[in-house]
Subunit: 214 residues, 2 copies
DNA sequence: GTCTATACGAGGATAGAC
DNA sequence: GTCTATCCTCGTATAGAC
């Protein structure tokens, strides 16, 4: 009566693909952490989004913190790699700034959860996990561009440190509000392809105009 | 032997001032909520910051959510009142924009926790508590100014909706990073009076230059 | 109004079968 | 590798004395 070998003819299908399982968990975790931050995220909620058992999280990532670290690393990898290969020192400050902004906005448009993840990490965890691994400081790259531009006189006499923060805010704040904008009933989806492209345009335009000498 | 009436000669001094106790709780709660958001904040942590017992929170504010609502209302009150009394319709778009920005930056400089509170409310709670009471929509005010300016030709041809978000980001993002900036070892305290004034200057300069017609 | 002590549920983490 | 069942800590909320 019992089927000796056929264990997968039921609805349940334990796929037994380690890499796939990890990827599924990571994806679900990224969503949850981006929405709720580290502390408020429930491992049960992550498991519920996947078809895998909660204990798989602990099997593959040790504990909640381990999973969080993995999410941080994965979500930052693209941005860090992209910025690093730009070779901005070769370019004039104006061009370097535009290239930098386009790269940044491309990355966060591809992964709109990155800004909120960064936010949570900065505010809630005071950058604790961040410091463990962070290789390149994105802000430092931007500050360097601004300094060059001010010195060369192609940017107005701005404070590079302050302005770098403000520029990052211009680019990233959009994604923070994205989840919240039901206030605007025109049915605009802020994360639609069209809107993301428009945001890229508008942000770059605002910033480039903002640093130009008067 | 026992002192009949003198109950306050011990170190412990149950002050029995309702308003004062509420204020103390609210202040501590604002700090905690700004740092951790609603879910991750522990009522025990709030109580620990004060000298009052944890149960006072429930006595005065019903539950954690009630306390959170009270914090939201209090921290937004100043900003809402300030913006409302500006009468920006009377002014030219350029002047109106500068007035608006100065008012906004003044408010958040006075209460640097407001931006993170707003952030948490937007991202984590999707503006749930917010909608319950919110009277004026700050963004709408800014959008209106931008629309007028574009129509009048004193601002460049920008998208008012997108630009409003980006401008808010320029003003507020600074405060989000403020807790985190140990990356910059120059010992700059982002919330010192001098730095806050500089941020106000720099943000206004960046934005006004950014919207000017080319 | 304020405190201490405690009930009770939620959620992180583990054990052990398959 | 994957699942179910369970342990145990932590945190919200309440009861009741003063």
């Amino acid at each position: 009566m019992a089927q000796p070998k056929a264990t997968r003819d039921k609805q349940t299908k334990p796929v037994r693909d380690a890499a796939a399982t990890q990827a599924v968990i990571l994806a679900a975790a990224e969503e949850e952490f981006a929405q709720n931050g580290f502390t408020a995220t429930r491992t049960e909620a992550i498991a519920a989004k996947t078809r895998v058992a909660k204990s798989m999280i602990y099997y593959y990532f040790k504990d909640k913190a381990g999973l969080y670290r993995a999410v941080l690393a994965q979500s930052h990898a693209d941005l860090l790699a992209t910025v690093q290969k730009l070779e901005l020192e070769q370019l004039s400050p104006e061009v370097a700034l535009e290239q930098f902004l386009r790269a940044l906005l491309d990355c966060v448009s591809r992964n709109p959860r990155l800004p909120t993840i960064m936010f949570y990490e900065a505010v809630q965890n005071q950058g604790t996990f961040y410091k463990e691994s962070s290789s390149v400081n994105i802000d430092a790259v931007l500050i360097a561009i601004l300094e060059r531009g001010v010195t060369a006189g192609v940017f107005r006499s701005l404070d590079p440190f302050q302005t770098a923060i403000n520029i990052m805010g211009t680019c990233l704040f959009y994604f923070v509000g994205a989840g919240n904008i039901k206030q605007f009933p025109q049915g605009k989806r802020l994360l639609s392809k069209a809107m993301l492209e428009q945001h890229t345009q508008e942000a770059i335009a605002l910033i480039l105009a903002g640093v130009r000498p008067s």
